[in-house]
């Protein structure tokens, strides 16, 4: 049976001023998967993340964590936030300590771990994100890519079960962004559920196991990437572009219709192999 780590039923969230940000969202995140949430700016992706880890309190509907409805008691809330990590889009907002070590230790300290353990967790998070050498560097002198890694280490040090990343590749250059995507793969292999929101459809298509499309605070479509990105209706209505792999594949089918019997290519390699077929 499929195991869901987080599930919502008819989730609703309105800001205190009455703006409805999430509406009738029923979404289920399967444990151990790589999941992407796509949709235009303002679709409510960030709000969804903050509602799932209890920082925003749902104004309607239910949220289940490991099939248990979440409660907003102080202790339960802290446990939820520990296990559901959020990496913010702009690292400049997330980083505020004098140096990298202190920065990463913020979460573990707040969890009330003993000192020796805090140090261990921090060093582990730094080594995983490949920034041990930045340990004593002040945060505001780092490059954009380095800041991004620190902001991920921030969350890793709390050892969450699921990590939500808000547009992790938005502020970084292509090389860093590729390194990050590989790193997310690695984390996933270690058993973490990874959810990322992004605009970058070309990057998401080969990476994701499952895709959610959000629009105007609702869940607009969901499915495996091969399905979602070949569904013209969904793409058009949600203002999404087609990944180029699919575009080339469809162009390829025009001249070689018989290639249809093979599976839709999911990566560059698969596509090129298909192209080499006579």
């Amino acid at each position: 049976m499929t195991q869901y780590i987080i599930q919502t039923k008819e989730l609703e969230f309105s800001y205190p001023d009455g703006t409805k940000a999430l509406n009738n969202m029923s979404i289920a995140f399967e444990q151990g998967k790589k999941i992407a949430i796509i949709g235009p700016n303002g679709a409510g992706k960030t709000t969804l993340f903050l509602t799932l880890n209890g920082v925003h309190r749902a104004t309607g509907g239910k949220i289940y964590y490991h099939n248990q409805p979440i409660s907003y008691g102080k202790k339960e809330l802290l446990a939820l936030r520990k296990n559901v990590g959020i990496v913010f889009q702009d690292p400049n907002i997330q980083l505020f300590s004098a140096n990298v070590f202190q920065e990463v230790s913020f979460g573990p300290i707040n969890l009330g771990m003993p000192k020796a353990m805090i140090k261990e967790k921090v060093m582990e998070a730094l080594s995983k994100t490949d920034i041990t050498y930045l340990k004593d560097r002040p945060t505001h002198f780092l490059s954009g890519g380095q800041k991004k890694r620190v902001s991920i280490a921030d969350i890793l040090a709390m050892e969450p079960e699921v990590i939500f990343l808000d547009e992790p590749t938005a502020f970084v250059d292509p090389k860093t962004s590729e390194e990050l995507m590989n790193f997310f793969d690695l984390l996933n292999h270690e058993g973490k559920t990874i959810v990322l929101s992004t605009h970058d459809i070309d990057k998401v298509y080969p990476w994701a196991d499952y895709v959610f499309v959000m629009k105007d605070g609702t869940l607009f479509a969901e499915g495996v990437p091969e399905e979602i990105f070949q569904n013209e209706k969904v793409l058009c209505e949600a203002d999404l572009q087609k990944p180029w792999i699919i575009e080339v594949y469809e162009a390829l089918l025009k001249s070689k219709p018989y290639l249809k019997e093979f599976a839709v290519p999911k990566s560059k390699q698969e596509l090129f192999e298909l192209m080499e077929k006579p």
Binding site: L78, R81, F96, N110
Partner: protein, 255 residues
């Protein structure tokens, strides 16, 4: 993000000449200040509320919420005026003894409390009429017309714009700290809030330098002048304002 600011742009009277709105609200406010009849004050409250709800089309629920805002200060302040602590029981019309002291209410203090209460509420509705129908940019324009020193209006322009930029930054910072359990206890809250504020200050400093660079590329050399659109006076509105003010003065004198 700030509800009054939101309605200042979203109301039906936004297009009216700012000076007309300013004259009506400030004229009435001054009349409220100088006349000590609570009946006048209540008619001003009714009049301004009518303009705000019916003409400006501010939602009733939002307006009601705003009317509750002053209550915190008002209830404590009015209590302070009304209640007297004294050793001389003859001063009080109503009171009780605590040790050698009497806590209670005297007639004059009570009357003054009622007057202050009604005057303050009436004044607040006048302020609300201006605030809910006039965007801050227009308020700054009014100040320019009134020959307020340029340096003040220029600073106001920058401050107003960056209030929203910094508010957004601050709230995102707060959320990200909350995600990492930064507000789990009081002492942690102090630590986190201190970090938030000092970072916000450093960000403000950086932003000011970036803003200076950006404005320099557009030819800034020390003056922040912009082109303002011209408003046209409407004689019908001016007549309405004059009649309203005469009415209130008359009402105040008659009562």
């Amino acid at each position: 993000m700030i509800s009054i600011d939101h309605y200042a742009y979203m109301n039906r009277l936004k297009q009216i000449h700012p000076m007309e709105k300013f004259a009506l609200s400030m004229g009435t406010l001054v009349i409220c200040m100088f006349f000590k009849t609570w009946l006048l004050h209540f008619s001003v409250i009714a009049f301004m509320s009518f303009l705000i709800l019916y003409y400006a089309k501010i939602p009733f629920k939002a307006y009601f919420k705003l009317m509750l805002v002053p209550l915190a200060f008002l209830s404590v302040g009015v209590l302070g005026i009304a209640v007297t602590i004294t050793r001389n029981p003859s001063l009080l019309t109503y009171g009780f003894k605590v040790g050698n002291w009497m806590i209670g209410v005297e007639k004059q203090g009570f009357d003054q409390a009622v007057l202050t209460f009604s005057r303050a509420y009436a004044s607040v509705t006048c302020l609300y009429f201006l605030a809910l129908t006039t965007p801050m940019v227009d308020v700054i324009w009014i100040l320019k017309q009134m020959r307020v020193p340029r340096i003040l209006t220029e600073m106001m322009t920058i401050i107003y714009r960056f209030i929203f930029v910094l508010l957004e930054t601050a709230s995102m910072m707060y959320l990200s700290q909350e995600c990492r359990l930064g507000y789990a206890s009081i002492s942690k809250s102090y630590h986190s809030l201190g970090q938030l504020v000092s970072n916000l200050f450093i960000k403000s400093f950086q932003r000011s330098q970036e803003l200076f660079t950006a404005l320099s590329t557009r030819g800034y050399t020390g003056s922040l002048e912009v082109l303002e659109e011209e408003y046209v006076y409407c004689s019908k509105n001016i007549r309405f304002i004059i009649i309203a003010e005469i009415f209130f003065i008359g009402l105040a004198i008659l009562l």
